[in-house]
C-alpha cells in the first residue's frame, strides 16, 4: 500500500527537509497537548496529589491496586468469554444460513421435472417464499443497530417468559447480528467460487448437499478466514454494549471502579489501551493470515491474482461495528 502511494511524494530536498522538521514539531506538539489533557490536567484540576487517581491503576503499593486489577481482569475475562461464545454461535448459525440461502437459490432455479405439475408448482412457490423470507430476515437484522438488537432481546425475552442471565441476552443479541454478517460473507464466498467447482463436483456424482459441504464450504471458509478474524475484533468491541443490560464486562466494571474511586479519565485510558492492544494484534493476525493465504495460492500454481479475501476483508472492516 505504501508502495503505491509513495509515487505521490515530492522529491527530497531542502524544502522537503524543512517540511519534515516543522511537521515533526507539530506532531510532537499535538501528542504533548493530548498527553497533557489526558494525563496531567485532570489530576491538576482536582487539586489532588498526582498519584492519587492514577495510583490504583499503576502503583502496586497502592491499597486498591490488586483489587482494581482483579476486577478489570474479571471484566476482560467476561468480555472474551461473551465474544468467544458469540463468534462460535454466529459461525454455526451463519454457516447454516449461508447454506440455506445458496440451496434455496438453486432450488428456485430447479424446474422439478419428473413430478406432477401441481406438486412442482407448489415446491417452486414454497422455495421462492422461503428464499424471500430469509432474505428479508437478513436485510432486517443487518439494518438494525446491534445495540437495538441486544436491547430488544433483553426486553423482549422476559415478555415471553424467558428469563435468562444477562450474559445470554448479550450473546444472543450479538449472535443474531453477526450470524447474518458471517452468513453473507460465506454466501458471497460460495457464490464467488469459480462455477467449475460445483460442476466438477456434480460431474463426479456428488449430490448438491455433498457439493456444498465438501467442495464449496471448505473453500469459502478458507477465503473468509481473514474476514472472520476481523469480525472477531468487531464482536470484541460490541461486547462492550453489555453495559446497557448491566452485564459485567470490562467497561461496566470500569464504571463501577470510577463510581468508587472517581477517576474517569484514568480508567477510560486503561480500558482503551487494553482494547487497542488486543484488537490491534488481532487485526495484524488477520493481515498475516491473508498474506499467507495469498502466498499459498500463488505456489499452488493458480495465476497470481488478488485473493477475493481482500474484498471480503475490507467489507467486514468497513462495517465498523461499535
Amino acid at each position: 500500500m505504501s508502495q503505491q502511494t509513495s509515487v505521490l511524494y515530492d522529491v527530497p530536498g531542502p524544502r522537503q527537509r524543512r517540511i519534515t522538521l516543522i511537521s515533526s514539531l507539530v506532531a510532537g506538539l499535538v501528542l504533548l497537548v493530548g498527553a497533557y489533557f489526558l494525563i496531567y490536567r485532570p489530576l491538576d484540576d482536582k487539586g489532588q496529589l498526582s498519584m492519587e487517581l492514577w495510583g490504583p491503576l499503576i502503583d502496586p503499593s497502592n491499597e486498591n491496586f490488586s483489587q482494581v486489577w482483579d476486577r478489570i481482569g474479571l471484566g476482560f475475562k467476561n468480555t472474551l468469554f461473551a465474544a468467544a461464545l458469540a463468534i462460535v454461535a454466529a459461525l454455526v448459525v451463519g454457516t447454516l444460513l449461508a447454506v440455506l440461502r445458496v440451496q434455496l437459490k438453486s432450488l428456485t432455479r430447479l424446474r422439478f421435472t419428473g413430478m406432477a405439475t401441481p406438486v412442482a408448482y407448489l415446491l417452486r412457490g414454497l422455495s421462492a417464499l422461503l428464499s424471500a423470507v430469509t432474505r428479508v430476515c437478513v436485510e432486517v437484522f443487518r439494518g438494525l443497530p446491534v445495540v437495538i438488537t441486544i436491547f430488544f432481546v433483553a426486553r423482549g425475552f422476559p415478555e415471553f417468559g424467558l428469563y435468562l442471565d444477562n450474559l445470554w441476552y448479550l450473546v444472543i443479541g450479538l449472535t443474531i447480528y453477526n450470524s447474518v454478517v458471517i452468513g453473507e460473507i460465506l454466501r458471497s464466498g460460495m457464490e464467488g467460487l469459480p462455477g467449475g467447482q460445483a460442476e466438477a463436483a456434480s460431474a463426479i456424482g456428488l449430490s448438491p448437499a455433498q457439493t456444498t459441504w465438501m467442495i464449496l464450504l471448505p473453500q469459502s471458509f478458507r477465503i473468509m478466514l481473514p474476514a472472520l478474524i476481523s469480525q472477531l475484533v468487531v464482536v470484541l468491541k460490541d461486547t462492550s454494549l453489555g453495559f446497557i443490560i448491566s452485564y459485567e464486562e470490562t467497561l461496566n466494571i470500569g464504571k463501577q471502579i470510577i463510581g468508587v474511586l472517581g477517576n474517569p479519565i484514568q480508567v477510560y485510558v486503561v480500558i482503551a489501551v487494553l482494547f487497542i492492544v488486543v484488537n490491534y494484534s488481532l487485526s495484524k493476525l488477520a493481515q498475516y493470515v491473508q498474506r499467507r493465504l495469498a502466498k499459498g495460492r500463488k505456489t499452488a500454481g493458480t495465476p497470481a491474482q488478488n485473493p477475493p479475501a481482500t474484498a471480503l476483508m475490507s467489507q467486514a472492516e468497513g462495517a465498523g461495528g461499535v
Binding site: 519534515t20 485532570p42 465498523g320
Partner: protein, 235 residues
Amino acid sequence: MNVLIDKFDVFAGGFWLTLQICILAAIGALILGAVVAVLRISPVPPLRGLGTSYVNVFRNMPLTVVMFFAAFGLPALGSNADFLRIPVIDSLFARLGTDLPYFRFALIALVLYTAAFVCEALRSGVNAVPAGQAEAARSLGLTFGQNLRHVVLPQSWQASVVPLGSVIIAMIKNSALAGFFGVVGDLSAAADQLTGAEGYAFIPVAIGISIGYLIMTVPLGALLDRIEKRQAVAR
C-alpha cells in the same frame, strides 16, 4: 398496536432526532476523515505516523468507550463542548443549542470514531488508482498537493463511494448508542422510555423502532448495491 398510533409523535420525534445526529456526525466525520486520510498518504513521516496512530487507536476501540469518554470524561477535563455552539447551526439543529451537552458529546464521539473508518475508505480509494497515474503526474513535475488535487483524488472518489456509503450506514446504526448516553428522545431512547417507564407492550414498540432505523439504512444499502453493480459493469 395502538402504541404505534397513540405515540406516533414519539416515534417521529425519535426518527427526526436520530436523523439530525446522523447528518451532523456524517458531515463532521467526512471532514475529519478526509483530513486524516491526507495525513496518512502525505509524504511527511511524522504526519503519516499521526494519521496512522489516529486510525489504529479509534478503529480498535469500542465506540462505547469513546462515548463514555466523551460523555463522562470530557466534563472531567472541564469541557462542556460549548465550542460546538455556532449560532447558525444552532438555529438549524435546535438540540445543539438547547439540550443538555449530551447531544454534543454524542456528536463528538461519533465523529471521532467514524472519521477513522472514513479515512480508511478514502485511502482504499486512493490505493485503487493505478500507480501509473500518479507516476505520470509526478514526471510532469506536479507537486504532492497538485498530484493529489488534480489526478489522484478525483479518480479515487469513484472507488471510495461504496465503502464510504457502508461507513455511513454503520454510523447511522452506531448513532443508536447515543440514546443510552443521555441523549433524550432519539429512536433508541424512545424504545427505552416506551417499553420501560411507560410500560407499553414490547412487540409494537420494537416494530416501530425497527421501521425507523430500516427507513434510514435499507434504502441507502440498496442504493450502494446499485452503484456497486454499475461500477462493476463499467469496469
